[in-house]
Symmetry: C2
Subunit: 421 residues, 2 copies
Amino acid sequence: MSEIELQIKTMAANAKVAARRVATLDTETKNGILHAIADGLVNATESILAANAKDMATANQNDLSDAMKDRLLLTPERIVSIADAVRQIAALQDPVGEVIDEFTGAENIAIKKVRSPIGVIGIIFESRPNVTVDAAVLCLKSGNATILRGGREAIHSNTALAKALQEAGAAAGLPADAIQLIPFTDREAVPALCQCDESVDLIIPRGGKGLIEAIISCSRVPVIKHLDGVCHIYVAASANPEMAKEIVVNAKAQRPGVCNALETLLVDQAASSQLPAIAKALSDAGVELRVDDKANEAIASAAPTTAASDEDWDTEYLDLILSVKVVDGVDAAIDHINTHGSGHSDCILTEDPAEAKLFMASVDSSTVYHNASTRFTDGEMFGFGAEIGISTDKLHARGPMALPELTTYKYEVHGTGQIRS
Amino acid sequence: MSEIELQIKTMAANAKVAARRVATLDTETKNGILHAIADGLVNATESILAANAKDMATANQNDLSDAMKDRLLLTPERIVSIADAVRQIAALQDPVGEVIDEFTGAENIAIKKVRSPIGVIGIIFESRPNVTVDAAVLCLKSGNATILRGGREAIHSNTALAKALQEAGAAAGLPADAIQLIPFTDREAVPALCQCDESVDLIIPRGGKGLIEAIISCSRVPVIKHLDGVCHIYVAASANPEMAKEIVVNAKAQRPGVCNALETLLVDQAASSQLPAIAKALSDAGVELRVDDKANEAIASAAPTTAASDEDWDTEYLDLILSVKVVDGVDAAIDHINTHGSGHSDCILTEDPAEAKLFMASVDSSTVYHNASTRFTDGEMFGFGAEIGISTDKLHARGPMALPELTTYKYEVHGTGQIRS
């Protein structure tokens, strides 16, 4: 075992011990710790900014893009808003202990299905340092211990944030090792953490495809993934034209760089007369259209287009680009989405309830929409109050993930001496 | 890619296509298929028994144990009871489409959390051929496609059962490739299946530790494991002595070879006066006692004992052997269980509700008991009507798993044209 593997194994074992303590903290104690953390972060502003300045200097040396640098940058205002987010999580309902179901088993044993913490959660993320705080605090509120592994670019910022959080938390009763940050940037740490299945219960990666692929390939610990969002809207024959235009433009152009933005527009042959107006509105919003032959014909001179290649149907542009295809009815749309989609968010625009029902039941995605923009797939928009990610997996958690998704359940059986015969 | 990898990949891709069809079958159609399968199995008794005879002949040549041969053997009565189990599954409520939660999001979008099939489930199992039918039929009822991989010893029986099931199902509307059995026994097939994460959504292994370890090590597909059951009972100071004796003997001796049987007895120092009577009752039931020093002292001459080694505290005997330890209070019991247990089923015997509450909240196991035998951890005893296994994992499913655990959920959002601002 290498020295790094040994260090990670020790951190994981310590986290497991801490997890038992965190699991039984009552709501009041957890909220007290969260408020102390929020205050502690603001009080540590100076040292956090000093650490962040080191990361920013490296970012400048390495010629990181302006977008990357903006993600990395901390300011007094950003620290205040990170602290506010912690206070908001304190205000959310504690999921631990909730009785999900209650029934009677054989011999009249009383069975309760009770929400309980998962245990030790590893969060592996890139860049944005506020994730250090968000993830740790969501895991704490849901009764879990956390091991955080941030990106190399943010190591000084993350270390300062973690230190502020640990010190302020400890003073308010946070068990030792309940929140740990891997203090070095060696690549080896990620596979080492993913091998600790005797102590770590769940890995949540937040980052690019490369990171996630590396984790899936090596992990013995279960992983909940947030992969890409190749989101579709299908405009059916009966779609309301005004609504279709507004929703398509919103889903594509309101914020094109996010995972719930539209990437492919499917239009029923029988609705192709709606295409010119939609295409023009998209083009006016600065969207480049990559189209199949039939879509090209339908759009005619309403907007500039280029021919889509096979690859376009599987591409998450995260940009002002949209692929457009004319299909023959709802079944063809469902087949296209289930083949080329990523199981994130897909939508049908139709005034026909039976067609909507078929689409919603058949499309195999975390969130299916009828007559609303795909941009709503988001913990905040769903009213969850917080979000640790959006799962494109099907097991355990699907779609926007908040506090309840950071818990499991146990069966509590209460008897009066029952034995099995 | 080897020829076997290619074959498995093709089966998985076909299963994915089938899964879309199975997902939208209505309850009546699925139940019709299940009844046709039940009838078809009974009608194919002759060919199933002929195939089973081949497996039994090989088992005899290979000198398999009597217990193994009994697990392998099919008889006309056993085929009838396999068919009856299928009819019972038909009678269970269809989980697909159940609205788990319903709420309103931003801009008044109407959000429903709806139970939906997982997709393609790979079941990898050993020996007992009835699993071929049970697993396929549970997956079908919950709207999933299945790829079955049975043990080498049962290949002829499994093939005959699968053929009967597929033919009878097809005549009643079972989509092609919805239930597939891997038709060869090459070891390579298991890792090949576990690599098909583009088509397979979940692997459920049912078998020994070696099989499960091999699967975890290579799988890119999520795995839900049923590992060992190192189950504990803690006898607290206030335990009712008569109840303690009865429950401990029942949990250990009623059926020692199963995963919810007791393996370690913990007794509070203050309850050690109860140990002689418990030890004598266990000894009378044929149980060998492996004890620590204090337990040995307490038992004195009430029953024969041997000294426990360190290994005993981590051992699932699956036999009439029990390790016994005297501990200092409930905290020490909880620590022992969370360190040495397997997260399966653990019990406290106490008349003190506060102590019970602490134990239930702190012990990190799928099922925690207060004053009842651990032998109740079982889908049938819980009233689930069927069981695909008992999960010792914490993600997605924990404890007895039945139809709902073979589903995921999706969010259905119904709007009236909402866009995000």
